[in-house]
Amino acid sequence: MLLTSVIIVLREVLEAALMISILLAMTRKLQRDHRWISLGLTLGLVGAFLHASVISTVSEWFDDAGQEVTNASMQIAIYLLLLAINASLARGGRSGFWINLATSVVVALSIAREGFEIVIYLSGFAHNPENINRVLTGAALGMGVGFSIGALFYYSLLALSYRYALILSSLLLTLVGAGMCSQATMLLMQVDWLPSQIPLWDSSGWVSENSLTGHRRHRRRHHRSRHRATTQRSPPPATGRLCPWAG
């Protein structure tokens, strides 16, 4: 019970923690106002609880495709906002109201998206006093590990020179953005809004998605062993568009 709780919470926290640490390091390097990220964090937490409280109703929208459509929309929005943030980086990273707002909304959306699952998971134990302590301890451990990895990442980025920190941030945000498109595609296939085909290739022999590396890759870059034609078409243009140095 404890370990399950650690893994579930860590998996959800890790992706948001890594993305926020990149945005935070970028904000610091560019000497932008970090209060926009704090605003995003607050809105994200409120959003996670709101999202969790309405998920039963939302799931029934669009012939039971509501959950996927909502999540995919949030992911596509994150992708488009990361695109705007990367475009501003390519132009020298000048601060501006819209870019600050985009950063804030990206943080809010990613926390609302990842946090809602933690809220749902923990809500299942609300009336289970036998297990609640173990589950909450596990959740705290998971969050602690996730935040620590995020902090480590943040300080590693800060340790780099201005130029390399921004290039690396941009590349990582590109990967995160491509992952968002890839997962949005999967969700839309899951509810038959996009067609699904026989997998084009199977790389499960390389990195098992059950392994820790697989989990991390699955969450960070949405590595999928079995790529279908639709999924395979989506990430490359997303990557090309997002990365200012990729043309």
């Binding site: 399950t4 579930i8 998920i55 039963s56 799931s59 012939d63 039971d64 495709a65 959950q67 996927e68 596509i76 488009l80 695109l83 705007a84 475009a87 699952e117 749902i120 998971y121 809500s123 299942g124 134990f125 498109c181 999967m186 839309l188 296939m189 899951q190 509810v191 038959d192 809004w193 996009l194 067609p195 699904s196 085909q197 026989i198 997998p199 499960s204 998605e209 059950n210 697989g214 699955h218 999928r224 062993s225 079995r226 279908r228 639709t230 999924t231 989506s234 243009p237 997303a238 568009r241």
Partner: protein, 116 residues
């Protein structure tokens, strides 16, 4: 900012173009799975190969569950007492395990894709 517009537009077009042909769902076979006491019933479900199928997953428990499968590339949260719809396939013959992420020790099952 204007350079970004095509990316978003292409994405939206991409979604809507593919949404139209998928609206003929009448012929898709439907299979039902139930979650009771953090267990899947049936825990072994046979489906035909090379066919898209619709899984109707009823969560009979009062607690939430997440239907997840790495092999099927699917994940879906189903809150207590509700149902979830997940489309899978077309798949090649073989075994595709799935599990309940919130109760991974007990909620285990396999989709068996049988040759036509």
């Amino acid at each position: 900012m204007t350079r970004m517009a095509p990316a978003g537009t292409i994405w939206l077009l991409f979604i809507f173009i593919f949404y139209l042909p998928s609206s003929s769902r009448a012929a898709t076979p439907v299979f039902e799975i139930e979650i009771k006491n953090h267990l899947f019933y049936p825990s072994r479900l046979e489906i035909p190969a090379h066919t898209k199928v619709k899984l109707l997953i009823y969560n009979r428990d009062p607690t939430p569950e997440e239907f997840e499968s790495y092999e099927l590339n699917r994940e879906k949260v189903i809150t207590g007492g509700r149902k979830g719809v997940v489309f899978i396939g077309p798949l090649t013959p073989g075994e595709y395990p799935f599990f309940g992420e919130f109760n991974p020790k007990t909620a285990l099952g396999t989709i068996v894709v049988i040759p036509e």
